[in-house]
Amino acid sequence: MVQQGRAPRSDWILEVAEVDKSFAGVHALRGVDFRLRPGEVHALIGENGAGKSTLIKVMTGVYRPDAGRVRLAGEDRAFRNPLEAQTAGISTIYQEVNLVPLMSVARNLCLGREPRRFGLVDVRAVNRIARETLKRYGVDVDVTRPLGSLGLGAQQMVALARAVRTDARVVVMDEPTSSLEPREVETLFSVIRGLRSQGIAVVYVSHRLDELYEICDRVTVLRDGAVVHTGDMAGLERLKLISLMLGREMSTVRAKGATAFGTGQHGEHGGDGGHEAAPVLRATGLTVRHKVHDVGLDIHHGEVVGLGGLLGAGRSETAKAITGALATDGGTVEVDGVPLARRSPAAAIRAGVVMLAEDRKTEGILPNLSVRENISLALLPRLARAGVVSGARQDEIVRFFMERLRIKAAGPDQKVSDLSGGNQQKVLLARWLCLDPKVLLLDEPTRGIDVGAKAEVQALIDELAEQGLGVLLISSDLEELIEGSDRLVVLKDGRAVGHLRGEEITEQTVLDTLAAAPPSEDLRGEDLDGEDLRGEAPAPHPDDHPAQAQGRPTAPAVTKEEPR
């Protein structure tokens, strides 16, 4: 099977060496080395755009690297497609289950290698094999039911069982727990431990640090397409791990002014001043199943509230829950003290709450329509008399905002999809600003736009806050978040775990908050501020919601969390 003559058989089951991959001039991977031992669970982490998914795709044969080698069990391999990688023993479980939802569980499990009898699929054998296999994974379902009728967790288990059944040597799991219930996560972990004991290597991608500490043996951190760290999970501080991911040294003092945000505080509510005035927006107890748990927020006039957290912490979901774009399972939103009775984007807009969505393409622009149409989209009813749009007023407003935001377009009639990303973003900002909102929710307002536009957008946010607008700022750019926010709410796994304000907002404190050990169930509800190891925790504010006001216990030296 494996040639042993040339080189001694490697200790590594899978080696990725000096791999480069670029797309249209953008380097997605730069000289990446990644090695996997048999029987280890290896965490692969990094922020958005760090190159995780590209690396996975190189390993699993979806992409071919531009340079570098992929070796499986000491043998150079160049997988031309995912099937080749699969046959060679590398299985992948994607975040979304990609099986056939209308086929039965059993058929899905045996898809492509059904036992046959007289040339036909032996349905009974298929069902029997499926039942036996799933039993080992603790999944007790009727295997003849269509896969789509199962819960997501169970579907994930079927996908896992299927992947492992192909005599896998390496199993790649891309955020396998993102849609699982805690109980299902436990089952998954016991399965992973089973794989480990069989000598199967697992690549585990997740943003949930607690999980990594619970299940992973080693970790590789990617940032900007390069490996910045590889090592044992045990002994690696959370804080260190997060700063590696975000590319911030724990000790660096932040240099002010690298972003276009002003250094001053906004409005009368900046700094540590009291919040006697009523907030313009108050959200309490927002809950979205699997995504947001009991998050509360206050935004005052003229205040920029940052929403921090790692990928998947529930930041976008929180913003969407506020506007009603995402159905909530609980929680209330008040604007100027008036609760929003109906929850829908339209109702939020009428109340003066607008959201710049993260995904410009699918949730923002109308690609085939003009700049004019895109800007005036939400304003149309106000531009119309008896349903007929006043072209003159429309032109006036469009021209004003194109000038005000310096939108570079051939004219208001240019198709918006012909503009650059930065100008598209400005068009969307104009769409919301022309409504004269009270609260502006910005989800990654500067992602994917060029440096110049980025600075302009940041300066604009500053200016708007000074004029009294309440702003919620979500950004994965830590620098932007720190310099832009008057107050910062840190989310983790869908919960608000920290509140920082004014001068407390530094890289150090943000990283500390992110690294804080997770609240374990029995501790929740106790007042733990006195034990806060940061020593500079903000006193819980009377306005704050109880569940978010507690500083979580921080234990920088903790390397493995206590078993749950």
Binding site: T323, A325, S344, P345, A346, A348, I349, R350, M355, A357, T362, E363, G364, I365, L366, P367, N368, L369, E373, L377, A378, L380, P381, L383, A384, G387, V388, V389, G391, S417, D418, R431
Partner: protein
């Protein structure tokens, strides 16, 4: 229409040529067809022939206008032919109260059918093609239940007038169709509703996030399509002087889609070309008429139509965009 006639060769110019073809192709084709037909056959431009063509194209055009709106929302309305049948079965029942009331009741029936289809699409989120297919099948059944299976002669002078009278030498049906086209064009270009309709067709999710009343707009669009189809149905009954729900309106949904598509409205939504739809309907009417008048067999006529449809869809596809 050679590329060199427009500008120097190059990929950019090809893109521009495509754009020109997309924008004005249907008008140019209509003009060419008109000139060719008039040259080949002197009687083509005779008042009699023009009247016949206008009588025939008017109902199709009216239905196609509603269809264009629906297609602009990334939908399709297959039920229009069946709504015509329903209108044909309802109108004779109420002719005793006078033609205006009978037509009005037919229009209300069309609106209700559209509301049902629109509700299925907007609220139950059933795919438009499936929702309106179900409606199409069901409504034909309803129409035949009301009317029985036989054609009934219509003698009401008001309704016959609608189907055959004219003004200034142009049939009333054509005037009405023209008025509908103008109103639809204004609706699309100048009203909040029209702009929202197009926005929803372009990006439904973004439109919802921008607070647009997505469901209301969608239901209204299907209601309009139903009303226009019912109007066409009343005209067809008046013109034919008989109500025949089993046969009237057959394949009308397909003719309407053809007119819309040939007129350059993309099936992917986000764009409604009203004038293009008018040109598309005229073009399809004329090409069939010309071929028939020159004794081309129906089979070949259909082949030609098929080629035109394919070409129109190919030409209207977005290409060369970054």
């Amino acid at each position: 229409m050679t590329p060199t006639a427009w500008a120097a060769p190059g990929p950019l110019d090809r893109a521009r040529l495509t754009r020109l073809l997309q924008s004005y192709g249907v008008y140019a084709a209509l003009l060419v067809l008109f000139v060719v037909a008039a040259t080949l056959d002197g009687s083509f431009l005779s008042a009699g022939n023009v009247r016949i063509q206008l009588f025939q194209v008017a109902p199709t055009l009216i239905v196609a206008l509603g269809m264009a709106l629906v297609i602009g929302t990334e939908g399709v309305d297959l039920s229009v032919g069946a709504v015509i049948a329903l209108a044909a079965s309802v109108v004779p029942l109420y002719l005793g109260y006078g033609a205006p009331l009978a037509v009005l009741i037919a229009l209300v029936c069309g609106a209700v059918c559209g509301a049902v289809g629109g509700t299925m699409v907007a609220l139950a989120r059933i795919q438009p093609i499936v929702a309106t297919l179900a409606l199409m099948i069901g409504l034909r059944g309803v129409a035949e239940l009301i009317n029985g299976n036989s054609a009934k002669p219509v003698t009401d002078t008001g309704l016959l007038g609608l189907g055959s009278d004219g003004f200034a030498g142009v049939p009333a049906m054509a005037w009405i169709a023209g008025a509908c086209a103008v109103l639809t064009a204004l609706l699309v270009r100048r009203t909040t509703f029209g702009r929202q309709l197009v926005a929803i067709g372009d990006n439904r999710r973004a439109s919802r996030l921008a607070g647009l009343p997505v469901r209301r707009v969608l239901v209204t669009v299907y209601v309009l399509s139903g009303v226009l189809a019912a109007l066409a149905g009343a005209m067809i009954v008046g013109h034919g002087a008989e109500a025949d729900p089993a046969n009237q309106g057959l394949n009308m949904e397909l003719n309407a889609i053809t007119a819309v598509v040939v007129g350059g409205t993309p099936l992917t939504g986000g764009r409604v070309r009203v004038l293009g739809t008018v040109a598309g309907a005229l073009f399809m009417q004329l090409i069939t008429a010309v071929l028939t008048q020159h004794n081309v067999h129906t089979s070949y006529t259909q082949l030609v139509e098929a080629v035109i449809i394919c070409f129109a869809v190919y030409a209207s596809q977005e290409r060369g965009t970054r």
